[in-house]
Amino acid sequence: MLNYTIRRLNLLFFTLLVLSVVSFSLAFLFPGDSLTNLSGVKSPTPIQLASLQESYKVDSNYFWQYIAYLRLLLDGDWGISFTSQQPLLDDLSTTLPATVELSTYAFTLAILIGVPCGIIAGLKHHKIFDFSILSASLLGYSVPVFWLALILIQLFSLQLSLLPLSGRISLYFDVPIQSGFIIYDIFQAENIDKTAALRDVFFHLILPTLSIAIMTGTIIIRIVRRSVLNVLEQDYIKAAYGRGQTNAQVFWKHGLRNSLLPVLPLIVTQFTTLLTNAMIVEVIFSWPGIGNWLIQAIYQRDYPAIRGGMLMVSSLVIMFTISLDILIRVIDPTKGRKIRVAV
C-alpha cells in the first residue's frame, strides 16, 4: 500500500514537472518576446526590465532559466495577465473557486439523480421503467451541453422570464470577493440581506447546474445500472433468493453495498468531464469561472494567462485523479488501475 502510494506520488511529481516544463517552453513557442510572455509585463520601464531580467535569469542558459521560473512559480509569482494587468494567481484564485463551486453542486445533483435512477433501472431490468430511464439517459449523455444550456435559457429565461441567465448573483448585492466561494462570501459580507442574497444565488445556480448535471447524471445512471445488474447475477444473491428473501430484502441487504462500492471511483472520475463541461457552460452563462477566463484569454491571445490557466487546470485535474487512484486502493485494494478503462 505504502509502496503504491509512493509510486503514485512519484508519478504526480513527475507529471507536474513535465507540465511546468511545457508551460515554460510555451513562453518561447508563443509569438513575441519570451520574457514578456513569462512575466506578462508588456512595456516595462528600464528599471522594471532589469529586475525582471534578474528574476527570470534571462542571461543564463535554458536550464537555469527554467529553475528560476520554477522558483517563481513556487513563490506564487506567476506573472501578470496582458489584458487585466492583474497577477495571474489573483485572477486564478477568484475564478477557480467559482468553477469548483458550480461543478460541486452540479456533481452532487448528478449523483442525487444518477444513483437512485440507476438502482431502480437495474432492479427493474427490462421493464418499462428501465426502458424509459435508459432512453432518457441515452438522450442525456448524447446531448451537447452547450446546446442544452441554450435550450434551457431559451425556455426558462427568455420565454418564461423565470430565471436569470448570467452571473452568480444579481448586482444588487454588493458581495466583496473574499474566498471566491459565493455562499461563504455572502456570510462574510456586511450590509446585505443575506436571505435574499442566498435565494438569488440559488436562482442563478439552477440553469448552469442543470445543464451540466444532466449529462453526468445520465452517465452515472448507466454505470450504476450496469453494476446492479452484475451484482444481481452473482451467486450470493441467488443464494439469498434461495433462502426465500424478498426482492427488496435481498437487494438492501446484499446488493446495494456491493453494487455501489466498486463503481464509486468510476463515478468520481466523471468529475473531470463535468468540470470541462462546466468550463464551456460558463461562457454561456457569463459565469466568472476559470473556463470563461481561459477562453477569453485564448481570444485575446493573452499568452501569460493561457500559460497560467493551462498549468493550473491540468495540475489540478492530475492531482485530483492521482489522489483518487490512491483512494481507490484504500477502499478496495484488489482493484487495479483498470477501473478507469471501462466506460
Binding site: F156, L163, S166, Y172, D174, D200, L210, P288
Partner: protein, 534 residues
C-alpha cells in the same frame, strides 16, 4: 426521471417567481446594461459615448443643462447668466448649498462655489495648470473646438458669481458649456489629492455634484453607484444605480428580457421586433443627432478632384442603403444636419442616383474604366452606421456598375482610427454623433481645417471659404442670420462634395416598464437623474 426533476423544479420556480421579480431589493436599485468600460470617470478626458453614458449625468452637473424635452438650454449649477452686449463676457450666478459627494475617500467641508467652476475650466484651458497633464492631459472635445483658445479668462467675482471672458464672440459657447464634457469637478478634492501626491485619483475615484456617487468599479464587470442624499435637485431616485457591463449585443437584450437589466441602449435594428413583442418592455425611438457618411480622402489623387467625388456620389442609391443597412430606421441625409436641427435646410446638397452621369463625369475627369480604389469600412457597430462592412459591399457593387473596382478594407478599431488619422484611406464609411444641438457641432469637427489635425475631418478637406463662413456664423447671435451663413456653407459643400451624407439614424433605447422618466437624451449621455422605479 430527469424530465420529472425538471418539471418539479420548474413547478417550484413558477410558484416563487413572483418573489424574485418584485422583491424589495430590486425596487431600490436600477441596473443598466452598458456596452463597454468607460475610458475614465471624467468626461472631460474622453469623447466616447460609453464614457459619457457612464459618468456625465450620473456623477456630475454642469453650469448649464440641455433640457432633453425641449432641446433648449436650461439652468444647471448656474441659476442664471448674463451675456454682455459684445458677446465677450459671460457672468454666471451660481446656485448655493449644492453639496459634493461624501464618499469613503473624500468628505467635503464646503459646498459648491466659484472655485470649483474656475478649477474645472482651467484644468483643460491652461497648459500650466497643475492638473492639466494629469491622466494623459488630453481634452479632445475642448481642443477640437478650439475652446481653450476661445476662453480668455475665468475669474471669480464673489463666491457665487463667476465671469468668463472670451477672445471672440462665440454663439455656440453656452451650448458647449451644456455638453456632457463640461462637468464641474470639486476643487477641494483636487487640492487634497494634490497634497497627497495622487492627483490622478480625481479621474478614477470621482467626486461630483450629480445624483449618484461612486462606490465601486470592476473592469469588464460593473460600476456601482449610490444615491447622493444631498443632491441639489431632489427626486425620488432609487438607492442604487448599477452598470452591468455587457459587451455582447445579444446578451444585453437577453438580460433585458430576463429582467436582469432594467434598461439598455445600442439596440440593433433587427432586435426591435423582439422588444416590441414584450408587453413589459418600453422602446424609445428618436431621430438622432448624428450622420453616417462616405468621406473621400481629398488629399489623395484622384479624390482631390471635386468632379470625381461628385461622380462617386451619384453612383450610389442612398434609399437602398437606408433600407438594407438601417432597415428603414433612419432618415435620408440631405446634408450634414438632421431635420431636428434649427439650421436644417431641405435638399442642401443631396445627390440622386444617376450612374450614367457618374460614368460621364469620371470620363471627363480622366478616370478610365477598371480604376481601383479602397473603401474603408469601420469594424464596429455605431448608431449612425450599424453595419459599415455590409454597406461597403453594396457600394462595391454600385461602383462595379460604373466600372470601378472597389476593395473593402477593415482593421481592428483602434488601428483603424489611427491609420485614418494618418490619411491612409481612399475613402471611408464612418459617421458622427453630435454632442450638442448646435449646428457648429456638425460643421466644425467634420470639415474644418483644424479638425484634420484632431482627426475628426475624415475627408481631410480644407477650404478657406468654408472655414471663414462657419467662423463668421459663430460671431452672430441672431439665429435667422446665423442660418444664412450655414446655408452658404452648404453651397460650398454641394459644389465640393468632400463627403457623401447618407443617413441620420434613429436612436433606440429600451427599458422595463417599471422605470419611469428614462428618455433618450438627444445630446449625448443617458440620464438617470430623474428616473424612478416602481
Amino acid at each position: 426521471m430527469n424530465q420529472r426533476a425538471l418539471f418539479l423544479l420548474s413547478f417550484i420556480l413558477l410558484s416563487s417567481c413572483s418573489d424574485i421579480k418584485h422583491n424589495e431589493l430590486s425596487k431600490k436599485g436600477v441596473i443598466y446594461c452598458s456596452e463597454g468600460d468607460p475610458a475614465t470617470f471624467n468626461p472631460q478626458l474622453d469623447t466616447s459615448g460609453t464614457t459619457a453614458d457612464a459618468t456625465s449625468h450620473q456623477l456630475y452637473s454642469r453650469l448649464i443643462e440641455f433640457d432633453p424635452n425641449t432641446s433648449k438650454i436650461a439652468p444647471g449649477l448656474a441659476s442664471s447668466w448674463l451675456v454682455s452686449r459684445d458677446g465677450l463676457t459671460y457672468t454666471f450666478q451660481l446656485r448655493r448649498n449644492v453639496a459634493f459627494h461624501s464618499t469613503s475617500y473624500f468628505t467635503p467641508t464646503r459646498s459648491f462655489n466659484a472655485d470649483d467652476v474656475i478649477f474645472s475650466i482651467n484644468r483643460w484651458r491652461l497648459d500650466n495648470h497643475p492638473y492639466n497633464k494629469v491622466s494623459g492631459g488630453n481634452y479632445p472635445y475642448f481642443v477640437s473646438l478650439g475652446l481653450n483658445e476661445v476662453v480668455e479668462d475665468v475669474s471669480r467675482i464673489n463666491g457665487y458669481r463667476v465671469e468668463i471672458k472670451l477672445t471672440r464672440p462665440d454663439s455656440s459657447f453656452l451650448a458647449n458649456l451644456a455638453t456632457d464634457f463640461s462637468v464641474i469637478l470639486s476643487e477641494e478634492y483636487a487640492t487634497q489629492l494634490l497634497a497627497q501626491g495622487t492627483p490622478s485619483l480625481i479621474d478614477t475615484k470621482p467626486v461630483g455634484t450629480g445624483p449618484y456617487k461612486f462606490v465601486d468599479y470592476r473592469k469588464d464587470s460593473f460600476i456601482r453607484y449610490q444615491k447622493h442624499e444631498n443632491y441639489w435637485q431632489l427626486g425620488d431616485i432609487p438607492e442604487q444605480l448599477i452598470y452591468d457591463i455587457t459587451t455582447t449585443d445579444s446578451l444585453r437584450l437577453a438580460k433585458l428580457i430576463s429582467g436582469e437589466c432594467d434598461a439598455t441602449s445600442y439596440i440593433s435594428n433587427s432586435e426591435i421586433g423582439a422588444i416590441e413583442q414584450r408587453p413589459n418592455l418600453v422602446l424609445n425611438e428618436r431621430p438622432g443627432l448624428n450622420i453616417g457618411f462616405w468621406a473621400f480622402n481629398t488629399q489623395k489623387e484622384p479624390f482631390n478632384d471635386a468632379k470625381v467625388r461628385r461622380a462617386l456620389a451619384l453612383a450610389i442609391d442612398k434609399n437602398t442603403l437606408i433600407e438594407a443597412i438601417y432597415l428603414g430606421s433612419a432618415d435620408r441625409a440631405h446634408g450634414l444636419l438632421p431635420e431636428t436641427s434649427w439650421a436644417f435646410e431641405a435638399l442642401q446638397n443631396d445627390t440622386n442616383f444617376n450612374p450614367a452621369l457618374a460614368r460621364q463625369l469620371l470620363d471627363e475627369a480622366g478616370i478610365p474604366p477598371g480604376f481601383s480604389m479602397d473603401i474603408w469600412a469601420m469594424p464596429v457597430q455605431r448608431a449612425y452606421n450599424p453595419n459599415a462592412t455590409k454597406m461597403a459591399e453594396i457600394i462595391q457593387s454600385y461602383l462595379q456598375d460604373i466600372q470601378i473596382d472597389a476593395n473593402i478594407v477593415t482593421r481592428e478599431w483602434s488601428t483603424f482610427r489611427e491609420e485614418l488619422k494618418n490619411g491612409e484611406h481612399d475613402s471611408v464609411l464612418i459617421g458622427w454623433s453630435a454632442d450638442n444641438g448646435d449646428p457648429d457641432n456638425f460643421y466644425r469637427p467634420l470639415l474644418s481645417c483644424q479638425a484634420i489635425k484632431s482627426g475628426t475631418n475624415r475627408a481631410r478637406w480644407c477650404s478657406r471659404r468654408y472655414d471663414d463662413l462657419i467662423q463668421e456664423a459663430l460671431l452672430i447671435s441672431d439665429i435667422e442670420l446665423r442660418k444664412t451663413y450655414y446655408h452658404l456653407a452648404n453651397a460650398v459643400l454641394a459644389e465640393e462634395m468632400p463627403l457623401v451624407p447618407i443617413a441620420h439614424a434613429y436612436r433606440y433605447q429600451a427599458h422595463s416598464d417599471r422605470l419611469h422618466g428614462l428618455k433618450i437624451n438627444p445630446f449625448g449621455g443617458i440620464r438617470f437623474g430623474d428616473v424612478e422605479k416602481r
